[in-house]
Symmetry: C2
């Protein structure tokens, strides 16, 4: 059936179900949703069940939007909104988009604007005609979040066209008589970096992740030239598990080389992705390196991004439904569940995950309606890769900080901007609040503050504890007074030239560049200071050399080469990893409901992937295999 | 380097090596060969080592051709040829092709025209300028062979262009920095029928076989729509292991859908392929079925076919060399050895093979210069699939024939035209010649005679015994008097209406169509007659039903339905298979030199493929796996 006929059919079915006197102006697929335009949005607002029932009957996600005719002028609408919501919602901004009949309301307490079961929101809809969309006023000003919202607004017309194209593509007719499912490994198998898979059926192609291996010039990019992924414009969707560069760093390249489809990811992943991509371009430019794409390609990606929340079952291709589940690795990180065909097959691609609680996130989800095949990360898949518990790690860190302060020293922690930094921040804030360590400043330098701002924007992606603290107790630990963003050269100079006991969290995490180097040069010679590693240090990095015991560190500076005397106490605190350790990886599969039939391992060095696959087979009698880049396995 | 520069470079190098006074007019890649055009072909003919040394230095196959200026007029040339060769060569035809400066000489004894180490041929070259090419006068008139030779002659201009394109393509520059080898299973894995593989590297794509599953409408064709093989015009070469339809029946389809490259196979495979493809179209038309290609596509394929002999190392892509080795399955059947990159990897794809002597062929070759990966057929891969020896089978058949003759009965043998028929013919001829069975006529009906004619055209592809018989003793068993081709309806009627003790070999092999049915109807009621099965009878065929013991056979005829009373003695003679039995499959790998690292199984039902893979792993500690259609495995 032609798509126009499908839509006119749907329109008729909807008209049969709505109350008398409800005019449906048009229906249209926009992205994965079916949008119903009506002159009587009130009728829908009054009867919340109509949309729910329609969605059930038509087996698709439905959004109701007002016909432009019924929209109240913006100035009047703002007054009516203010009259409707409780005072302590604290409204900070409004944006009206006549294209979709939507008003975006920024509020410090979006929950109050929404009301119980969306009651207040329905009230607003009735009064103003516009569909209200509520977003949280970022509690810490994030340039990234602001820029992205602004970009989305100014590109709304383009986006509407994109969503229409995507929607019609998703709802096209299936034509093949064959039924099969294949997965092609394009990168990240028996290695870490450049993660990339292609899931394909006779109808559709979906790419999962498209990372860059920043540590390698030779094996930097996934095998995007393989025939399975070419031409790129025949790919239906790109799904991103999380925002680390080794999972999304080359997404802009796809747009450069002809991909025109959507990106599906969570909202925090989207924002963090843009932040990290632009930073990647910046850093490379400073190093005189060339990156194979430009910032315009980053914007192309953003324009095509469709944000999904956890547990939302979403059509992303005619025969593929995607559901994201919490992965517990970094903010917005998602385990991707694909339901293929009408009950034909279910694949779970984990991306990176933590199957255990952390300060920031709930443990990764491993319960699904159905699952036959799992593709799991294996970073700590080797049988020897048991990590200390988070509690031990925290205690260890606290004691190191206490000791150093007692010696009037400074604690320098090289850290990745996203994930570990925020985990360590929460640990320190908690210890300071509870008086376990003295009330010293915790300086945040590099991209850490901006990444933290994104965390603060999306508390619904943090764990229960943190959400309660923020929403019920009004205590946002990221806003604690101890945290001092280093937002100027002057402040950095002051910290260096007039040192007082403090903790400094600074990028980069492996000490190969970034502001951490300036602090290191200044503080290395004093044996009262402590250098604390909380993350993995790869071979060839300065971090690794220092761990090995180097005492004279040659560094290049503005004045040529210099040698830094390294006298600081060096400490390694394991246990803060956002990855599951060996036991957690095994448990994740063991306790999965339902039990999968087959597990493939990836994302780990060769030994780790093979060790995990072999142990899972021996212990749980599952069919397992360590995947190899460039192979295509058949699932059904 | 551009191809023109490569050629001009080569020309210079050749000019340095040839004797003074030798003018090289031009050099050109034609197919896998480098052709050197010269005004002085004599100089090359006098010095056989020049070409050999050049080939070694330049690492390519070299052919010397005369510049058109030096060619003696055809009439004079014929006289000179006749004067040069021994009388008993018996020249039967000449064809001059001025495009390539070649004269094709048809002789009953081509060896005499060639002379010791090619001496006579060089003599001829010197006298006439033309490059002589000697082919055997077909000892039995084969319409197929004649038509193919005629077709090749009339299309020589097209072919020259094709060969030039192919040659330049093979010798293009390699550009990828990556090094990998992959194999995609497009059909014939865990099944028999539609055999098809794709071997690919970053530089090249080679398809091995492209069969049709004649027994299945749903799974008739290989997965040619997979992205790995699309677009078809990016495939460098199609390699055919042998001429059975399940290995080559869809090659014409490739040309219909845009493939423009060469087919590599042996000469008998080429001729048999055309015969079987045209017959496939014919039979389908009679059955009212539609085949997805036309005879023009068969001709396209033929025009693009480059015949290779056994043991000739041939460049078929910039980074792939192909060598065919005897497979012992049917005439011209070849085991394909691929040498990839400069020592990067060696894959052997067996196709169907017999690792044991038969009346017709030597056992399959399993010694290679190097081999890491083997992909082996598994038709009889199940541990239970042990076949009787050929000797037992022969004895069995002889006794059945003797017994039937003694009863004044008729022996009817349904048989496939290619392979088993000729094997049984030789057995019968031998027994008649030796007086083991009486001198009765052996009637050959259906395509058997034409297939036999092709066997007789290529005695160099038969085994040592047969070659000796034919070449040294002048005894061609296919020409024995006992064999009577049924070449008219009248003769068939006569055999049926006036029955005498005889053997009738008739197609089809599973009694689902063909002339065998007419004999069956006539001879079924008489219990003195014998029906002998020498090949596998698939489920659903009449042959299988008779084996199960059906006594009343409903058949459709011109006068509507009729029921045939089945009283014949039914005998099954196993052991004539052209496939290796279980033990031979195991031995083929066990005794392979050198030992491969990894064996993949295919071409067998699921149980057979898995059983063989698992046994090979357990017994010989090799990495093994039964391949699945639609997967792509990485070899390096």
């Amino acid at each position: 059936m032609a798509i126009e006929d499908v839509l006119s059919d749907l329109k008729k079915k909807i008209e049969e179900k709505v109350p008398d006197g409800t005019t449906i102006t048009s229906v249209e697929f926009e992205g994965p949703q079916l949008v119903v335009y009506t002159e009587n949005p009130k009728n829908f607002a009054d009867n919340g069940h109509i949309v729910r029932n329609l969605a059930k009957t038509l087996r698709t996600r439905i959004v109701v939007r007002p016909d432009p005719k019924v929209l109240v002028p913006p100035e009047d609408a703002i007054e009516k909104i203010k009259d409707t919501v409780p005072k302590d919602s604290i409204l900070t901004n409004f944006h009206f988009d006549p294209d979709v009949g939507e008003v975006v309301i920024e509020a410090e307490k979006p929950g109050l604007v929404i009301g119980k079961h969306g009651e207040t929101l329905r009230e607003i809809t009735k009064k103003i005609g516009w569909t209200p969309k509520v977003v949280r006023t970022p509690p810490i000003k994030s340039r990234t979040v602001n820029n992205i919202r602004e970009f989305m607004r100014t590109n709304h017309k383009d986006r509407k066209e994109i969503l229409k194209t995507v929607g019609r593509n998703i709802h096209r007719e299936c034509t093949s008589k064959d039924k099969w499912v294949r997965v092609t490994s394009l990168g990240g198998c028996k290695e870490v970096g450049r993660s990339c898979f292609l899931l394909s059926t006779p109808e559709s192609k979906v790419m999962i992740d498209c990372g860059v291996n920043v540590g390698s010039d030779d094996n930097m990019t996934p095998y995007l030239y393989l025939p399975e992924v070419q031409p790129l414009n025949q790919i239906d969707a790109v799904v991103l598990t999380h925002a680390h560069l080794d999972h999304q760093g080359l997404v802009p390249l796809l747009y450069k080389y002809g991909y025109e489809g959507p990106i599906y990811c969570t909202s925090p992943t989207r924002d963090m992705m843009v932040l990290l991509q632009l930073d990647y371009i910046d850093v490379a430019a400073k190093d005189g390196k060339r990156i194979p794409y430009e910032s315009s390609n980053v914007r192309d990606g953003l324009k095509h991004t469709i944000a999904l929340g956890f547990e939302e079952v979403t059509d992303i291709a005619p025969d593929i439904k995607l559901t994201f589940h919490n992965a517990g690795h970094i903010i917005g990180s998602a385990i991707s569940h694909f339901h293929i065909g009408d009950g034909l097959h279910n694949v779970v691609i984990t991306g990176d995950y933590k199957y255990g609680p952390t300060r920031l996130f709930d443990p990764a989800v491993n319960k699904f309606p159905r699952v036959e095949t799992v593709i799991t990360e294996s970073t700590y898949g080797a049988s020897s890769a048991i990590q200390p518990s988070l509690k031990e790690a925290e205690k260890n860190l606290q004691q190191i900080v206490k000791r150093t302060i007692a010696n009037n020293g400074i604690v320098l922690i090289p850290a990745f901007a996203v994930g570990r930094s925020q985990e360590v921040m929460i640990v320190l804030e908690d210890a300071i609040r509870k008086g376990i360590i003295d009330d010293i400043p915790v300086y945040l330098d590099g991209m850490i503050w901006e990444a933290t701002a994104i965390h603060a924007t999306y508390p619904e992606y943090l764990n229960n504890n943190l959400r309660k603290l923020i929403f019920q107790k009004g205590q946002n630990p990221f806003l604690a007074e101890c945290f001092k963003p280093v937002d100027s050269h002057d402040l950095r100079k002051k910290i260096i030239n007039d040192p007082h006991p403090c903790v400094i969290l600074a990028t980069s995490g492996m000490m190969n560049a970034g502001p951490v180097m300036e602090y290191f040069k200044a503080f290395a010679p004093d044996p009262n200071n402590t250098l604390v590693f909380v993350g993995y240090q790869a071979d060839g990095t300065l971090g690794r050399r220092i761990q090995k015991g180097w005492k004279e560190i040659p560094l290049s500076s503005k004045n040529g080469a210099e040698v830094v005397q390294m006298n600081m106490d060096v400490q390694v605190v394991d246990g803060f990893s956002g990855h599951s350790d060996r036991k957690q990886l095994m448990d994740f599969i063991k306790k999965m409901k339902p039990q999968p039939e087959r597990v493939f391992t990836e994302h780990g060095d060769e030994r780790s992937c093979i060790d995990l696959a072999s142990s899972l087979h021996k212990k749980y009698r599952l069919e397992t295999r360590a995947l190899t880049n460039l192979e295509t396995v058949r699932l059904v």
